[in-house]
Amino acid sequence: MGYDPENPMADRITDIGPPHYSKFHPPVIAKNKGKWLWHEITQPGVLVHKAESGDECWTIRVGAARLMSTQLIYEMCDIADAHCDGFLRFTTRNNVEFMVDDKAKVQPLLDDLASRGNKFPVGGTGAGVTNIVHTQGWIHCHTPATDASGVVKAVMDELFDYFTSMTLPAQVRIALACCLNMCGAVHASDIAILGVHRKPPMIDHSRITGVCELPLAISSCPLGAVKPAKAEVDGKEIKTVKVNNDRCMFCGNCYTMCPAMPLADPDGDGIAILVGGKVSNSRSAPKFSKLVIPFLPNTPPRWPETVEAVKNILEVYAGDARKYERIGEWAERIGWEKFFEKCNIPFTIKSVDDYRLAYDTWRTTTQFKYTNAIK
């Protein structure tokens, strides 16, 4: 049985979609769906949901490196089999949740998890730092300006205590995207770690013919920096493109469209830090993250500059903001000029918008605070 390469279409099954979720609901979930009354986080990483029926669902949330092996998943299954009737789930931020239907089952589960070294840290709930949403980086993608899993590991090691506690003014959502495509909620995160290129694409004239549709490459550039050109390859004149370096803002969209225009570079690439985004509509409307540190170098394996920058912002915020105040809400209340002062981040011209809707970010009032930026 199985796939027959000689006869690939035989018995082919397609378009069946995912299994119905109801097959995977733990019994307490299946029974009480739509009839939950309230919840409480009884300790970091442990939630109880109370149903109209009186039933309780106890959830133990566990941090995970999203990049994980089948071995590790088997181990999770072992745990779920031992404690949770053989069910588990993953959250929208790549944590793992083990659910039990009785308070008495919580401690044994926690003990089991704790017995397995640092593999299953319990936490990620409430006013703390939960798992970092991130992307591929050097493990799989072709356009990254930094790594993903490595940076995340370094940052989470440093912020670990905030994962296992709930001492912050509000939840803090950190995300990482390894390039401007931003495969993640980096554009709307409390703290965003963003891989950025800083060198314009090279043109691989000897490859461009065949692998690129030139008109697409040309029209891909939002700033019109890519123009038609001619070049000599092996003595023959070919049609190719050139880039007006002065107009390039390193978005990488041309490379997405044309493999002969690579832009990654060991010295050019690195990390920008954006802060103050949020997704929820709670209190204030969703906000975009704002660029506050335009560049930090790529320094594997532990990216100390990035780790330090993230930690610094987080801790200044933790010490200064009010209960329930997200980072962006805090920065807006105190004023962004104060944000830079309090976090001791030098303000650079790179933080001043000059893209499409830029005017709306200019300060068109006399209202401002004096900070150390004003000499």
Partner: protein
């Protein structure tokens, strides 16, 4: 035994957070190709640059998505990752699993692929990380035949829909997010598997304005639960909160001493619409002014609940920054019933309305939000056949540059300049 030295990666084995390096090394003991993943990643750590080639179109017969092709640019050094395609398996709604299902899926991946995964990808899929081209069809066969599971989306198609866990375990969900997600995923299998759009298109379903699946920020079509009537108040529980007998915000702030609960400061003063007040020890809400932001409910889950007349808002057009800057989705349908009873027919109508138009006017690689920006919100509202509402905008326009059409203006646009000159000498 390690095939390559990985001194840099080894540094990531220490520290309290789970180490993917340690994990991958363990996996490599079972699947030696993983040494080459580690080896190439170590090289990237050293060179500070990716070692994957650009793209590469691979897939399974009949599908235009679900696989992302990937080849090493240093295949001689790391033959184990010469081909390293990812498979996007469509996750079950809400991402609950039975261990039976999950073990079986992992077994298939051990058989056909690297044994490394991402649980889950940013869009929501199960990402199976790295296999050779030859393995794709066999894996797909086993996946469909043994597990009855299928691939998710990639390319210019409907991407794998995702949802917050909703009513399954959350008291606030205003509609059944997982049923909506599952139903529409099944309804649109063709659109998921066969790219026919100008560019990618994403659905996300959140049960309330907390938006735990980031729908407003990350999906072209966001369905976000809300209600139409009044917040349900349990005044007895309000008193318990005020008395300090129930922990605020479901215990989310329990790690720090923020002082005694202060309903005025923590709830009433933070309500964005200032529509709450105390009358004696009763909490009052002027529901006509409430924008259902969820804050008060978040803080007092035992005292306050969403209204009973539930449904959702539909917001359209979110996307990441490429090309014109990031967009949040724009509120297009303030309130709609979302129900399995009518098989989500009314939601489907909205979706197809958007698609019919976008597939016609959308340019290549133009997200629907960008098309909306290009034609303008007024045009979009018109082509969607909707009444313009003040709810569509934060504020009315401040520039006076209004378009009028010939028919709207008495006498129309055509005038005779000679007639005009008779009354107005030049």
């Amino acid at each position: 035994m390690a095939k390559h030295d990985t001194p840099l990666l080894d540094e990531l084995e220490s520290g309290p957070w789970p180490s993917f390096v340690t994990d991958m090394k363990r996996q490599a003991e079972k699947n030696p190709d993983c040494w080459d993943i580690l080896g190439q990643l170590e090289l990237s750590f050293r060179d500070k640059i990716t070692h994957w080639k650009h793209g590469g179109i691979v897939g399974v017969f009949g599908y235009g998505g679900g696989i992302v092709g990937r080849y090493s640019d240093v295949p001689e050094q790391f033959p184990g990752v010469e081909h390293f395609h990812t498979v996007r398996v469509n996750q079950p709604a809400s991402k609950y699993y039975s261990t039976e299902n999950l073990r079986h899926l992992m077994k298939l991946w051990d058989k056909h692929g690297s044994g490394m995964t991402n649980m889950h990808g940013s869009t929501g899929d199960i990402i199976l990380l790295g296999c050779r081209t030859e393995a794709l069809e066999p894996f797909f066969w086993d996946l469909t035949h043994e597990l009855g599971q299928d691939l998710g989306g990639s390319g210019s198609n409907l991407r794998t829909p995702a949802n917050c866990l909703g009513q399954s375990r959350c008291e606030w969900s205003c509609y059944d997010t997982e049923e909506a997600c599952h139903h529409l995923t099944m309804h649109y299998q063709d659109e998921i598997h066969r790219p026919a759009f100008p560019y990618k298109f994403k659905f996300k379903f959140s049960g309330c304005a907390n938006d735990c699946v980031a729908a407003l920020a990350r999906s072209d079509f966001a369905v976000i639960g809300t209600w139409r009537d009044d917040i349900r108040i349990d005044q007895a529980a309000v008193k318990e909160y005020v008395a300090g007998n129930i922990v605020s915000n479901g215990g989310a702030h329990a790690g720090k001493d923020w002082g005694a609960f202060d309903i005025q400061k923590e709830v009433i003063d933070l309500c964005p619409t200032e529509c709450m007040w105390m009358e004696g020890d009763e909490l009052k809400i002027d529901n006509a002014e409430c924008t259902r932001c969820m804050h008060c409910i978040n803080v007092m889950p035992r005292a306050l609940r969403p209204g009973a007349e539930q449904g959702a808002s539909i917001c359209i057009g979110a996307k990441a920054p490429i090309l014109d800057g990031a967009q949040f989705a724009t509120l297009i349908i303030p309130f709609i019933k979302v129900s399995a009873e009518n098989e989500f027919e009314n939601v489907i109508d909205v979706i197809e309305n958007v698609w019919d138009w976008w597939m016609e006017v959308g340019k290549n690689r133009e997200r629907v939000g960008e098309t909306m920006q290009r034609v303008g919100l007024p045009t979009f509202i018109k082509v969607m056949g909707l009444d313009p509402l003040p709810q569509h905008v934060k504020e009315p326009r401040s520039n006076p540059y209004v378009f009028w059409s010939d028919e709207e203006v008495p006498g129309g646009f055509d005038r005779d300049v000679d007639e005009f000159r008779k009354r107005h000498a030049a």
